[in-house]
Point group: C2
Chain length 194, copies 2
């Protein structure tokens, strides 16, 4: 799927770096992901870290992309429970929200990096966006994978993704609770999938 270029040793280094990143983020959030610390924990020189990832934000957004990849791989084939698009989308969002609640620091780190990213990270951002829409589309379609998503479906998926990001931001910045996230998602999805 995602062919990572380079020698074996290089793939290993890259993996160690991303692992260290996730571990640090999980413990202390965005601020705890310090480049010197990541390099140390990944057994790599600081310069090497910067050769692999040109900035902290690149690093974190790439890590987010890897998380989405794994989530997608896990959901692969398994049908989403629920009889209506609304139910299925809410199920996926609910599961995701619950997972994020269990690792609030990690969520904070990855979300803030995503939000803070500037134009130089657009490629990585775009990748994450694709994964997100793929997951929501999959939920809307349900088992009925035969039907090609209409243009309207695509638009709806994008809007749901947007609302979810905003809600996530509210939660990460402590303005809303996880319950409120779920409630506001429910309202938005109801408005859109009617």
């Amino acid at each position: 799927m995602t062919e990572t270029p380079g020698s074996n040793a290089q793939r290993e280094r890259r993996r160690r770096i991303l692992d260290a990143t996730i571990a640090l983020a999980n413990e202390g959030g965005f601020d705890a992901v310090q480049m010197r610390e990541v390099a140390d924990n990944a057994d790599v020189a600081l310069g090497t870290l910067y050769r692999y990832f040109p900035s902290k934000v690149h690093l974190l957004v790439t890590a987010l992309g890897r998380q989405f990849e794994r989530a997608e791989a896990q959901a692969q084939g398994r049908p989403v429970p629920g009889d209506t698009p609304h139910e299925r989308v809410m199920h996926v969002l609910g599961v995701t929200t619950k997972a994020m609640q269990k690792q609030p620091q990690l969520t904070e780190a990855l979300t803030r990096a995503f939000m803070f990213a500037d134009a130089s990270v657009s490629e990585e951002i775009h990748y994450v966006g694709m994964k997100l829409t793929a997951i929501i589309t999959h939920a809307i379609e349900g088992t009925d994978q035969t039907r090609e998503p209409t243009e309207e479906d695509t638009a709806i998926v994008r809007v749901i993704g947007d609302v979810w990001l905003s809600a996530l931001m509210g939660w990460v910045t402590g303005r809303t609770t996880a319950d409120e996230v779920e409630r506001s998602m429910d309202v938005a999805v109801r408005l859109l999938l009617r």
Copy 2:
């Protein structure tokens, strides 16, 4: 409206600081708003700047709030053109998008600060959110200000605001063009206001 406390000299300092912030942001975006530079240009000591605004993000989000205040004051009383809620909302969003296109650096600076804000900025963030929903609500209502907004209206306004923020982020990070922002807003508003 917004009673700024303190002596005259203090209000003046605060104004100079925010003016310098906007000016720097307008020239060079988020990175060009450097605290030492802001302090210099506003003729205050660095320590004073930090007494007024405890962080760069507080500073920028407060500046964003002031911009919204002014936008709201200008729109005050003037009815929004358009015969339907959809038309009126799109008109407001279109005008805003155009204004932002004229000052892309300023938009980048304020948007990124808003996105990056953490829990300590929730008050300022909340203020900006209120202004935004007020503007959208005003557009939906149009001249017919008699009708109390329903609960559904409120929910719709919030979703529109969320989508707009996401679209804005896409534009700021160079993933989408201003045209695409407007187009995706049109789709979202159509989906919601039907």
